[in-house]
Symmetry: C2
Subunit: 328 residues, 2 copies
């Protein structure tokens, strides 16, 4: 019996979940739900249909896990509690500061509805969180570091697009190799924002826009660019489409710590992701945790969870015996 | 109430657990047990004593978790089932091929005795296994690679010492940088043993030993060296002590895989350990899982576990609320 997946929201992330489901033989796509006109949403899977979000309540018996593919700003704070009453759900809520509040609301709703809800699944929060936790627990005396990139930051790209005279833009966050190397030495450096990351901007200008004024405006924008070494490249719309249409991302979680009676030994734990497609990788993590949610539910678990609460074996389609024999 | 740790076996690993316990404020060392004369075993912790292994049964009420620090060849196959009847136990059983059988025996004993027993804890098996599992589950279409080193292989060092004319020796396993780079490109190369690792040997000879014959014997030794590019350095006993008395190790777990409807996007997951002290790092992992064992036991869990079965949050001294607010 396959795990029947529903997808709510068919943007890059929803399409990524659709692709990931096809890569997992123990899963199948049941349906995609959208707030748009379903007739105008073409999906890739020919065995599943597209339905309006209002139809979701009718699918309770036909979906094992609903994967919520909306955004953290406005969609998920509403959707995850709402649908956790009806379905086992997974979301990728990534506004770090609001996670405790979001969790509390989702947990209450999932308990009320008798379902499992796993929030903040992806790579940060998600795989990076797991690595921070494992490394912290194993090396209690040390320091840890998260670097992001090289990758496209949606928030920073949006900030560029809001500047008068900018038609389109793409911003890459780039970890500073020298800072990474310093962390790897085990000296536990204190690093400022500027020392850890640089920001590279590719902007397409409106006709007649003042390039010098725009570059100045970018480089002095507080919170987004002023605290970093920022470079600005003015390019054509054609070049932006050809060279910068991908959504790569990734980064590093490092922890360096000491052991021994005199703290005489140093250790470095480094986890790295290098992703061609940020949304597809996030979707792949969501899909693995959808498997976990379904299993937990069948075992009788109810309520909210994060990736930190879930034993790794639940993510794998392999049996415990297979895992022990082949992978442990 | 601190978790009271017992240590059975006071070699490098046992001493490492003693050091790790001191780094964790929620733990304390209750006692060390040895097969040697306890009067001749000096430990570092002045608040704990050393006792003969025969006294262990009297400590059932004074130890929450017993960490078994013997070897996988002969100690742990006997000790882990025996003591899982009396205590919550952790071991670092690392004979991969025998893990299923060892698990079955330990699981039965732990259930019989009403305890939790976590086997095969360390870094491989252990942290590397976790990373293989997470990466496999997230990128089901791909290939994974484990590289070891640079580090001292005890088994290969022992093999060198068994050669007639060799007084002492140290063997380093070294991952081939070119192979690592090829894996990182995402081309999923097929790599032979020789392509993945080189072996570097430092040997001290008995007086009058034939260096050329010994080098030949090393380089042609099947299973250990013949399948690798092996270099042999004859050095003095003094140099061996000065330059090669540490026990560094580490390695890499990589998985490269594809996502997308046409598998058009590549992703790389890389986990790396760089360890000054193999036994102390292993001990630090054992100690974090001792915390997990105690918690699981207090929650009512019984029986055998591996690292794959344990939710990450159990390893951390932090509460779920703290973890969610600070680390997720």
């Amino acid at each position: 019996m396959k795990t029947r997946i529903g997808i709510l929201g068919y943007g890059n992330l929803g399409r990524g979940v659709e692709c990931a489901v096809r890569q997992n033989e123990d899963m199948e796509l049941a349906a995609v739900f959208t707030r748009r006109d379903p007739g105008k949403v073409a999906i890739l899977t020919d065995t599943a249909g597209v339905y309006p979000v209002e139809a979701l309540a009718d699918w309770r018996q036909r979906i094992d896990v609903l994967v919520l593919c909306g955004g953290s700003a406005t969609d998920l704070p509403e959707q995850t509690p709402e649908y956790a009453r009806m379905f086992n759900v997974i979301d990728s809520f990534d506004t770090h500061a609001n996670i405790p509040e979001h969790f509390a609301r989702v947990d209450a709703a999932a308990r009320e509805g008798g379902h499992v809800a796993i929030i903040s699944v992806g790579w940060d929060p998600g795989m990076f969180s797991l690595n921070r936790l494992y490394a912290d627990a194993v090396l209690p005396e040390g320091a840890d570091y998260t670097f992001w990139g090289k990758g496209v930051s949606q928030g920073h790209s949006d900030a560029l697009r809001r500047i008068a005279g900018v038609r389109d833009a793409r911003q890459y966050t780039i970890p500073v190799e020298r800072a990474l190397e310093e962390v790897r030495t085990g000296r536990n450096p204190k690093l400022s924002a500027r020392e850890k990351h640089t920001r590279e901007c590719f902007v397409v200008l409106e006709e007649g826009a003042d390039a010098a004024r725009i570059e100045e405006e970018i480089k002095t924008m507080p919170n987004y660019f002023a605290e970093y070494d920022t470079t600005v490249h003015v390019i054509s719309e054609e070049e932006l489409l050809q060279e910068h249409s991908g959504i790569p991302h990734g980064g590093f979680v490092l922890r360096s710590g000491t052991t021994g009676w005199q703290k005489e030994h140093r250790h470095l734990i480094e986890y790295r992701l290098k992703l061609d497609s940020n949304p597809e990788f996030t979707a792949s993590v969501l899909t693995a945790y959808a498997r976990a949610a379904h299993r937990l539910y069948r075992e009788g678990a109810r309520g909210g969870r994060t990736v930190l609460d879930i034993a790794p074996a639940y993510l794998s389609p392999k049996s415990k015996e297979e895992l022990m024999a082949s992978l442990l």
